[in-house]
Symmetry: C2
Subunit: 242 residues, 2 copies
């Protein structure tokens, strides 16, 4: 399983993902689900991937190939981020179809979902969630975040905290707490947690962090959040019968 989240705030974009993949409980491995792509100074993309690992790897591979070979299609030439998201959706559907029948027979699914975010020069930054069917939706000021994978455990904190006026750093902390909560409640989500920041018009993904539980910053966030929650809980008003 996987959990990825992207947040769009006025200052820019934040991307976060876990790194655990598993085929059953006895084949657990670590793969980054966050891919940075782009043309320096002109266009920057971050792609988050969830679902069948063979599908997502092939989609990423095809995207990179199209960029390297200067194909007229693909991320290097998309006029709008929306076109880029549709292109990823088309690739994903194509890749899924190639193996769908064989996978179905072994009781598996080729499905994959993606979040594509970034900026193309002259346009505003944006984020898109790309469904397994290839279609996509973007965020809105009322719903400034998108999730894929195991989304439910980490949603309440996003619903309470995230708004477009949040600073880029605060959005990053919120994504980190959302991932941490998910990881505590579901063992199929695991470290390292990757966190990437994109500041509007910077055309570079920086900083990009890979946080293990032993990383001093991550450990301090975990401790502080845990203590803060316990403090908030202790301060809740008493029942009248207490």
């Amino acid at each position: 399983m996987t959990y990825c989240v992207a947040i769009k705030v006025n200052q820019g974009l934040v991307f976060a993902s876990d790194s655990r993949t598993n085929a059953g409980v006895d084949y657990v491995s670590v793969y980054s689900k966050m891919h940075s792509l782009g043309v320096p100074g002109e266009r920057t993309f971050v792609l988050l991937a969830a679902g069948n690992l063979a599908t997502t790897q092939m989609v990423v591979n095809l995207i990179q190939r199209d960029m390297e070979q200067g194909e007229r299609r693909g991320l290097a030439h998309a006029e709008y981020l929306y076109d880029a998201a549709h292109y990823v959706g088309e690739l994903s559907v194509d890749v899924q179809e190639r193996h769908a029948e064989a996978l179905k027979q072994s009781g598996n699914s080729p499905e994959a979902t993606f979040i594509l975010g970034g900026q193309i020069k002259g346009r505003p930054p944006d984020i898109y969630r790309i469904y397994a069917e290839g279609n996509c939706v973007t965020a809105s000021p009322e719903t400034p975040y998108l999730q894929i994978g195991e989304t439910k455990y980490g949603k309440p904190i996003l619903d309470r905290i995230v708004s477009p006026s949040l600073s880029l750093a605060d959005a990053g902390r919120c994504a980190l707490v959302s991932l941490d909560s998910t990881m505590r409640s579901n063992i199929s989500i695991g470290p390292p947690l990757e966190l990437a920041f994109y500041r509007t018009d910077s055309f570079e993904v920086a900083p990009r962090l890979s946080l293990k539980p032993a990383s001093p910053y991550y450990a301090s966030v975990q401790k502080s959040w845990n203590e803060g929650l316990k403090r908030a809980f202790k301060r809740l008003p008493k029942f009248d019968w207490e």
Copy 2:
């Protein structure tokens, strides 16, 4: 959809449930999913129900009938809470089977899940989750809570706070916050929120609260929790690049 949770602490048991049922988005109604049953001074049960409303209503109806008619089976005669849970599981499977074929043809499911908790004189109090298949599991000191229905949004706070040493009131507050978080993230979960307390060896369910968003206590908990979370969030350590 439904969300119910039961927590077992050293002082006793806490039960909590939402009250929204829906068949599609245009047929939403309010039903209590919490049922108290028992024999005064001798045995006390609380049953929480999720799933197909026709199934859960019929199961509750049959349980009550067996109690009233003094049947040798049923909650009035179970020697152990475990037997009572198995009895509920058997009833549930029977009821589901009656309508399974017809429901399948209309694309619906007769499935229902339950949490049964309480105490039979001379035995310790306990809680059981009864699956749609009729089998059941109990809680443990390491996992002192059970959930049914839409369980994921409300799980992280339980994982962080609940332990057997929690006071009954604190366990109730934790269940309330867990329900509130779920309700914010999923519109199929709705008020009033019901909250029931069972103190070990009391053989009565008291107090039992029905909390609407306008209820002063619930409103004060919501406000306090929201502020406490935001305070905890603001105190998180800064990134080194800030």
